[in-house]
């Protein structure tokens, strides 16, 4: 730093703002003026350069002002764009909220529908279980009657037509489920001979033959003996000399019939008229 008018100590002690105010004019002007005063011969140049510099200053000011103005335009334009975007977003939001409300209502409707369907399903399942029990495709337990028949020791064998009256009589007497040697009887079960063996549900049985029937244990035996089939059975068994017994049982377990015999091969669901229409529709293909 060149020497200033003030001694160094003063300069250090002067507050910054005061210093700035005191030296607001470039000291160089004073220095040059002092030097010129010492050298009166120095020529004074024209102020052409100063004019050019001032012109540059004018250009600077103009350009800065124009730039700021353009920036302002861009800012306000972007502000307008932002406002538009906000409005669009708000409209979008309210549309989405309306959609939420609609979907909620739909959801409530669907849920009540689902509840209906679920209760229908539960009802149908219960019905299926009841039907399975009564048709023989579901295992059942309960009190009932147990009839045991064996071959005559003299060699006379029990045949299918000897057992059938017992089963028919039990059905007539009010039995709810019947099994022969653990083979559950269904609408598609038959008791028939194949050679010397009796077969039920395509399974060969071996003596002694045990007919278990679930029903009212107080009335089943008596009712059986009042039916024609029951009497036929007793007469046959006694005349042929088969050892037999008939007892009440408190707890009988009857297994389900094998599902393979539940398959319908030719029968189709529906009434005859419906099926005829179905066949007519399929015929042209």
């Amino acid at each position: 730093m060149p020497d200033t008018a003030a001694p160094p100590n003063d300069r250090v002690n002067t507050p910054l703002l005061t210093l700035i105010t005191q030296q607001s004019l470039d000291e160089d002007y004073r220095h040059v003026a002092d030097r010129k005063a010492l050298e009166p011969g120095a020529q004074r140049r024209t102020s052409g350069i100063a004019a050019i510099v001032v012109a540059v200053f004018g250009v600077l000011v103009t350009v800065a002002a124009l730039q700021t103005q353009q920036g302002e335009d861009v800012r306000s334009a972007s502000r307008t764009t932002l406002i538009t975007q906000i409005d669009e977003g708000r409209a979008n939001l309210s549309e989405l909220q309306r959609r939420i409300v609609r979907l909620r209502e739909l959801n409530v409707g669907l849920q009540s529908h689902r509840d209906e369907v679920t209760s229908d399903q539960l009802g149908a399942e219960a019905r299926v279980q009841r039907l399975a029990a009564s048709t023989g495709f579901g295992a059942v337990t309960g009190p009932g009657v147990k009839i045991t028949v064996d071959d005559n020791p003299d060699g006379t064998l029990v045949r299918d037509r000897d057992l059938r009256p017992a089963v028919n009589g039990l059905w007539q007497a009010g039995a709810e489920a019947i099994a022969v040697n653990g083979n559950r009887l269904t609408a598609r079960s038959a008791i028939r001979n194949s050679g010397i063996a009796i077969r039920v549900n395509n399974r060969s049985l071996s003596p002694p033959y045990v007919i278990t029937a679930i029903g009212n244990e107080n009335t089943l035996q008596a009712n059986l003996m009042q039916t024609t089939s029951g009497l036929v059975f007793r007469n046959t068994v006694e005349s042929l000399g088969f050892p037999w017994s008939m007892d009440n049982a408190d707890q009988l377990f009857l297994p389900a019939a094998p599902p393979r015999i539940a398959r319908l091969r030719s029968a189709e669901a529906g009434t005859a008229e419906q099926n005829q229409n179905q066949h007519r529709k399929e015929a042209p293909q």
Binding site: L25, D26, V53, T62
Partner: protein, 110 residues
């Protein structure tokens, strides 16, 4: 007189051509303008004091502009650009005010 003419010519040129400022220099233009303003008012005061000199004016103008822009550039690089430009504006503003006060004393003898 010639200086006033130069200012007019400069403004007219700026309006006519509207030169594009490079994007990198754009933040330093306002600070450069304020620094130039300080140099111009200093020159005017010196003229009225009768000690005006072309060379000193040109040098002070150029150095003012360059140094002001450089300080703000450095501040930007250090992450204190805003604060530094505020400081530069304060110092230059005080100088401009005191110079204008001196000019006023010369013109109105008050």
């Amino acid at each position: 007189m010639i200086a006033a003419l130069g200012l007019l010519v400069g403004i007219v040129l700026g309006v006519m051509f509207q030169p594009d400022v490079p994007l990198g220099l754009e933040p330093y233009l306002p600070i450069a303008v304020v620094a130039a303003l300080d140099a111009v008012f200093g020159g005017l005061r010196a003229y009225l004091d009768g000690i005006f000199d072309d060379k000193v004016f040109v040098v002070s103008f150029v150095s003012n502009v360059v140094i002001a822009a450089a300080i703000v550039y450095l501040g930007d690089k250090l992450g204190v650009g805003g604060q530094l430009s505020t400081g530069v504006i304060v110092v230059l503003g005080i100088r401009i005010f005191s110079n204008v006060a001196a000019i006023r004393r010369h013109l109105f003898h008050a």
